[in-house]
């Protein structure tokens, strides 16, 4: 429904970032196993439980409490910014309605890295 608008905002954001960031660095390949592990953690109700709030490709019965997670590389050219969003969404938005997965140790640092790689691949 809002996908177009979301993509547009995302692209505009990306254009802004491109001015200050060096051209997208050649990607290091992330192994399919790693992406699978990240996906499993993101979808697991007792781990990331991201689907409770986010539409993610391949997820069932997804909530719409938060925005759909699409075109993540365009919106987060910088993987670290995405990781920070997952680690503690309150850094960017003090009124956030997303749990601070890293700060409150809902996920371990390694788990957050895995989830970040998976979300970044979307």
């Amino acid at each position: 429904m809002d996908k177009k608008a979301i993509l547009l905002t995302a692209l505009l954001g990306a254009a802004g970032t491109a001015l200050i960031a060096p051209a997208v660095v050649a990607e290091q390949a992330i192994s399919p196993e790693r992406l699978e592990q990240g996906k499993a953690l993101a979808f697991d109700r007792f781990k990331g439980n991201c689907l409770a709030c986010h539409w993610i490709e391949g997820g069932e019965l997804t909530g719409n409490y938060g925005p759909p997670l699409v075109a993540m590389k365009i919106r987060y050219p910088d993987r670290e910014a995405l990781r920070e969003q997952i680690w503690d969404a309150a850094i960017k938005n003090p009124h956030t309605r997303m749990p601070p997965f890293g700060r409150n140790r809902i996920l371990t640092e390694e788990e957050i890295d895995l989830v970040t790689d998976f979300i970044h691949s979307l």
């Binding site: 689907l51 409490y65 309150a90 003090p94 009124h95 309605r97 749990p99 601070p100 809902i106």
Partner: protein
């Protein structure tokens, strides 16, 4: 983390500094009317079904054979059964306990306590040398269901008397609703104001307005009728916060505040929810 909680708390409190309970209530109604311009706010006594046509149809079908009907019958029987000393519940309540739910919770000027309906039912028992009943489900919830049923159609009328302790209890309940807690750091308002009408997984979220009009509730997930404080505990657990004891001071204050927010709305308990 503490800093964050304090910061959030301050914004809320600042936004409503010196607001009277009545101003809070009107502001809440305005909030929901602005969020849902086409919604008849009176519909919010039906919780999530005010926002969800599909779920609403299924719910109305369920209401043809209300799953809480047995609880009302059992509650009526228990209500009318005399205590060992010959007295009955009717002796403990105004109007014999019939059609009085709209006045609960109330502030007892004598003891300074917030008296919820469940609290009053158990107090009636202990005053008459009977053992108190468990708070959340079972006979107590059934009696509350019967008493709520006799109050259907009345308008919620929670009073905050001119007593600083009553206002303090209301403010404490309000603070509870707006304070982030648990490992997930959510306040009640994050889900029931900012996200009302949205989906948390398969659950459509109800709004804060009208949340107190229809208790106790038969939930399919519980498979029985339960009190509002059972729901408080569940919502606390959901964000991995430690729930308070049923009928603790904190929960009675929370219920006092939440019920005041529903003032003027029609009582429609007991109700069913998925």
């Amino acid at each position: 983390m503490k800093k964050l909680i304090v910061a959030c708390f301050l914004t809320v409190m600042m936004a409503s500094a010196h607001a009277t309970p009545e101003q809070d209530r009107l502001a809440l109604r305005a909030f929901f009317q602005e969020r849902f311009p086409k919604l008849d706010l009176n519909e919010m006594i039906n919780g999530l079904y005010a926002f969800d046509e599909g779920a609403r149809e299924q719910w109305l079908e369920m209401e043809d054979f209300p799953p809480y009907e047995i609880a009302i019958e059992e509650g009526e029987e228990a209500f009318n059964k005399p205590f060992a000393n010959g007295k009955t519940y009717a002796d403990c309540f105004a109007n014999g306990g019939m059609g009085v739910k709209q006045d609960f919770p109330y502030f007892d000027v004598g003891t300074g306590e917030i008296i919820t309906m469940e609290y009053a039912i158990n107090k009636c028992r202990t005053d008459n040398d009977e053992e108190p009943l468990p708070w959340l489900v079972g006979e107590l919830a059934q009696i509350a269901a019967y008493m709520a049923y006799t109050s259907r159609g009345n308008k919620m009328n929670v009073v905050i008397p001119d007593d600083p302790r009553a206002l303090a209890a209301y403010e404490a309940g309000k603070e509870y609703y707006y304070t982030r807690r648990g490992q997930l750091e959510f306040a009640c308002e994050n889900c029931h104001m900012q996200s009302a009408g949205m989906m948390l997984r398969a659950d459509r979220l109800s709004g804060m307005l009208g949340q107190a009009t229809h208790w106790p509730v038969y939930r399919s997930k519980w498979g029985e009728i339960g009190t509002i404080q059972k729901r408080f505990q569940e919502c606390n657990s959901q964000v991995r916060a430690k729930p308070y004891e049923a009928q603790s001071q904190e929960y009675r204050q929370l219920e006092y505040f939440l019920s005041y927010m529903s003032n003027g709305m029609e009582l429609n308990g007991p109700a069913s929810r998925r």
